[in-house]
């Protein structure tokens, strides 16, 4: 079953994010993810107000990280949200954004052990259990919430590299794959299969979300213009193996990164090619977007997340997705179910 998610960055005024969240719910999105960076508005405060103004849509941090916030605090936050909106909360967890972590001298060290232990802590504590554990990273001695949590909160693990993908599949309820290209999802599936085998799970037990950079507009060039800055940021922060895999030279990536650091946006954006946009985003007219989403679904994606920038005009782009993209997949699902 295919579902659609949407990502909001609380860099915007709180009421704009909430306005778009209400719109996302009305138009049929299933899950709403709010990013967590210390320099934007707080993710849980943003989600609390989204929760108050919506009734059905699932929502959660997408993604938070255990370096900036101890997983026990994350467990407390999501359990509280789940009291406000029972059964609607999901928790996205990953190693975080290197650039913002570095600003506060945080190093995402031992990421696999950190994520494994964090998931254990968040799951046990948000279920209301008393947790005693001595891990490689975290030690918890008899911690328990003073209130009874509502229901089990699905945990999605953000992953890109092979080992993290396998771990995400092993311990998560879902995998958030930071990728927009079908080849990347196809490659990720190999590692995801390793993880589910390790956990004696089945692929149907797992949500496979393609967390994409997304831009839709009636005119292709407007969609492209909106997505270029996001693609530039993605390339600037991309690990060398990913760049090499897509034939992007490290020198070009360095030039983009340095231009961004110096605030020379135009110098960075001019280096972004059509191939880079194709690799790192779902971008274009509704027809083009439908074609790309179909390819993602064919290689195993079960949730397509429309991430930043969504489009040149967020409100119009959300409506466009609902009117011109969803029907292709909902119709298909209806036929498949007949």
């Amino acid at each position: 079953m295919i579902s659609f998610g949407i990502e909001f960055v609380p860099r915007d005024l709180y009421w704009k994010t909430t306005f778009y969240a209400i719109q996302a719910e009305k138009t049929g999105f299933n899950t709403l993810w709010v990013t967590d960076h210390f320099n934007n508005r707080n993710v849980y405060v943003s989600l609390a107000i989204v929760s108050a103004y919506t009734d059905k849509i699932r929502f959660g941090p997408g993604v938070t990280n255990p370096y900036m916030a101890h997983p026990i605090v994350t467990a407390q936050a999501v359990a509280t949200l789940n009291e406000i909106s029972p059964g609607r909360v999901v928790c996205g967890l990953g190693v975080g954004d290197r650039t913002t972590l570095e600003m506060v001298n945080m190093k995402p060290s031992k990421p696999l052990a950190t994520i494994r232990e964090s998931v254990k802590i968040i799951r046990e504590i948000s279920l209301g259990n008393n947790l005693e554990m001595e891990g490689k990273i975290f030690t918890v001695s008899g911690a328990k919430l003073n209130f009874k949590p509502n229901s089990r909160i699905p945990i999605f693990v953000g992953a890109q590299g092979p080992k993290m993908l396998a771990l995400a599949a092993e311990i998560g309820d879902g995998v958030l794959i930071n990728a927009s290209h079908p080849h990347d999802i196809k490659n990720a599936m190999k590692h995801i299969e390793e993880g589910i085998t390790r956990a004696h799970k089945s692929l149907v037990d797992l949500e496979i979300a393609a967390y994409t950079s997304f831009s839709i507009a009636k005119e292709n060039k407007k969609a492209v213009k909106a997505v270029i800055p996001v693609v530039a940021y993605i390339i600037a922060g991309c690990p060398p193996p990913v760049l090499e895999k897509h034939g992007i030279s490290l020198e070009t990536a360095d030039r983009i990164r340095n231009a961004i650091i110096r605030g020379k946006w135009k110098d960075a954006f001019i280096l972004i090619t059509d191939e880079m946009i194709e690799t790192f985003s779902i971008c274009g007219t509704p027809e083009k977007v439908v074609e790309k989403i179909s390819k993602l679904i064919n290689v195993g994606t079960t949730q397509v997340v429309a991430g930043s920038p969504i489009g040149p005009n967020i409100r119009k782009s959300i409506n466009m997705i609902a009117l011109e993209v969803f029907p292709h997949f909902k119709d298909k699902e209806d036929k498949d179910n007949d």
Binding site: L13, K16, T18, F19, I22, K26, Y53, T54
Partner: protein, 92 residues
């Protein structure tokens, strides 16, 4: 004239179109941070209940858009054929 009375002069056949245009101003203006939080929450309340294209919803949207971008608001109202309302708003 109070915004309530001004909004009342918009014919119901134009509520949807006016609401759409005013929402665009409110969401996309560089002055969006001028919106008072209380008014923002009222607008969200009406949006959640599908009431932004009603008389009461339009009152709040007009209040917000006049606060955020009065020039654009009057220009949109002119475009929609509400010259009389523009005159009233400009004389307030």
């Amino acid at each position: 004239m109070a915004l309530e009375k001004i909004a009342r002069k918009i014919p119901s056949s134009s509520w949807e179109a006016t609401s759409e245009k005013l929402i665009d101003i409110v969401l996309n203006s560089p002055n969006a941070n001028k919106m008072p939080s209380g008014l923002a929450k009222t607008i969200l309340y009406y949006w959640q209940r599908d009431q932004l294209a009603t008389e009461i919803g339009l009152q709040r949207l007009l209040e917000a858009s006049m606060m955020i971008d009065p020039d654009k608001t009057t220009s949109i109202l002119k475009e929609l054929g509400f010259q009389e309302l523009v005159t009233v708003l400009e004389n307030q």
